[in-house]
Symmetry: C2
Subunit: 463 residues, 2 copies
Amino acid sequence: MSTASLIRALEDSRSDRAGALARLIAFLSIPSVSTIPELAAEVTRAAEWVASRLRDAGAHSVRVDPTPRHPVVTGKMSATAADAPTVLVYGHYDVQPVDPIELWDSPPFEPSQREGALYARGASDDKGQVLAHLEAAAAYANAGGSPVNIVYVLEGEEEIGSPNLDAWLAAHGDELIADVALISDTAFVARGEPSIVYGLRGLAYMEITAQGPNRDLHSGQFGGAVLNPAGALCRIIAKLQDADGRIMIPGFYDAVRPLSDEERAEFAALPFDGAAFDAATGRAGGFGEPGFAANERIGARPSLDVNGLVSGWIGDGAKTVLPARASAKISMRLVPDQDPDDIARRFEARVKELTPPGLTVEVTSLHGARPAIVDRDTPAMRAAAFALKAGFGKAPVLSREGGSIPVVNTLAAKLGLQTVLMGFGLPDDNLHAPNEKFEIDQYHRGIETIIEFLHAFAEEHTA
Amino acid sequence: MSTASLIRALEDSRSDRAGALARLIAFLSIPSVSTIPELAAEVTRAAEWVASRLRDAGAHSVRVDPTPRHPVVTGKMSATAADAPTVLVYGHYDVQPVDPIELWDSPPFEPSQREGALYARGASDDKGQVLAHLEAAAAYANAGGSPVNIVYVLEGEEEIGSPNLDAWLAAHGDELIADVALISDTAFVARGEPSIVYGLRGLAYMEITAQGPNRDLHSGQFGGAVLNPAGALCRIIAKLQDADGRIMIPGFYDAVRPLSDEERAEFAALPFDGAAFDAATGRAGGFGEPGFAANERIGARPSLDVNGLVSGWIGDGAKTVLPARASAKISMRLVPDQDPDDIARRFEARVKELTPPGLTVEVTSLHGARPAIVDRDTPAMRAAAFALKAGFGKAPVLSREGGSIPVVNTLAAKLGLQTVLMGFGLPDDNLHAPNEKFEIDQYHRGIETIIEFLHAFAEEHTA
């Protein structure tokens, strides 16, 4: 693989930064919120957009494969050399909902450039990072060809737990033979600190629905003689976690792998963007399990969060209703070696145990993912380290992230693939929150870093 | 006052039951939800409708008086005799919101007749009962004149705590000189058991707004290192009330007047519609303060209810958000001699005390009302007892209700008026809930009972 082709690809990319930005703006304008049934056609429109961009970038075998819900987009780039390795690039073109919409400074699907960043839902998670891959591929196509074979798997259901991805991967295993998987859906640990994520937390996302009286009642006519399901649900939730955040579900911590002294030293040495953390968290950022630093609490310890809570009258002013129902969405982030199914069972058992007479409770598991730890010393990890240093001018740190990317486990289990998590987000990108952004410099350097990675991985392979 | 006029009025009412029902359907079709700002014009439309009906019924001095929010409708009927007493009739033409709309079997503002009842928001609370008064007045007008003077005060802000009524009453005191106030906004203790309510609970309605992080965060990227305001709010609410419903706010019970043995015997003797109670409450109806019967818990003991709860993602499916805010609406029903301002202060102090570091809490009082007990042996109470027996064929019981009608205290304080609470609802009317109804027989007999009351009160007065 010649360095000339790398240089031409980088030059091609640099010469069309305006075009790459315009394409990102077009992509971000499609409201592909996978969880909202009314937007299903928009999710499909985003899939078609991705397929069209893949074709323009020189990919072949491009398809938009329907699934029971949202399609998987796939396509291939062929390497110029016959013995080149294959990289499977996974990403997702669906996005989170935008609520609370009133807290956005600009409309979430009308991308807005401010202070070097592009603000839109999905900018960083994950459309901007997905498109960086397609832009890198197009640059190689314009430069004479790719140094590696690439298989793209771009799904539209990541934000709803990828319910149809496993079946799709199983059905297309023979098209997906690769040497490594590459995912850009993570962030730097701090601005200016390129990072390779080697650990991700798992997830058990539960919903509790609590029914008290048969129907909504007048709180004057009935209050005092009827169990209030909202109050009762609060009493249950209050017993799931103590004031320091320690989770009070019997056996919850049994499978948690303790941090070694060496790992704790690594966490302590990691750069931590305190300013971004403080800006996002305010006074609430002082919270957490005693004896652990903030990045350990996020990267290496399990957590429990109430993600949603609703009952009764939530409009302005007063309504004296004694509600029939109350419900809560509660998710737990898991660490090795916790098992999401086991945790979901323990959660349900504990909630049932805490349920008082007169309350009828249903506990549902909405979403589960295993925690993941990947090998830190492989040809692909070395290529990623080289590429990030080339793209951002600084050697990357190895970090563990608090989020979950369930596909990492699926790719290992179904296709035997190790994954490299080389992402270009920043800690203050406001993922899943109002005013999500992707910094334009991270985008352009991300494209160049992917160009560097593909070259370096081919070199590692032939070395 | 001649009995002939009473008989003619009753005959007039019976001859136009279809008309009275059609007018109620028209009145109920106006969505006069006072708490929703977007419906302010509909509230005014309902006020104009009431004023027009008052004029048609033969009232004079009819006005729709604007207030800073929703108007007060007033008007007068003059007695045929010069020495006749004056009755002040209070009612409200505003209604509660309709949420949860999906639980209604027919649209709340398209009145639907089923099994002898008219289903619509406001049917029983209070439009049906207000209109019964106007129909009774019209019957007397058609029959040659009213046996008493009547002053109508019909407001549009009862369901939001009557914020402008006190000022209106103070400004119009000289137009409101009367011998007694009559309100029909209560229910029978059981089907077939006419009731006069002599006690009402008070109310302290509070809102808690809790702020955790500065903005919504990704629960993977931050979970475990940031205080979750929804979880923290649940822990606060869980400490306000124990599993039996006893309220754990220091000093909350200090001013509660204990029930005497005599009062407890009266409660035990009251008819109790167990079937209606069970149908509404289901298994949740087994709840309450130990040592008290259900009707004591509702009529004579204070209570605390969570009326609303909201935080984070409340749509379908999963969103892994760590919300910035959580809020709760919590109301307490009060009994003699609790003071709503004192209780609001104690509530706020307790919530502040329970607030952990990292959570910022605001506590607001949305609405307050004193509990009320009225004299049980007065000419007006005797007239009401006579009228209910005439209208429904059975002597009424004296009962205490769990709801609040703050105006009872205001009428006593500002105008020196004792109030008679003679209502025609039933315990299963679904006030403030989906499928509110008013039974058509209760409506027609209610009109006749009011006709009887006005005659009987005139007789008591001249006796």
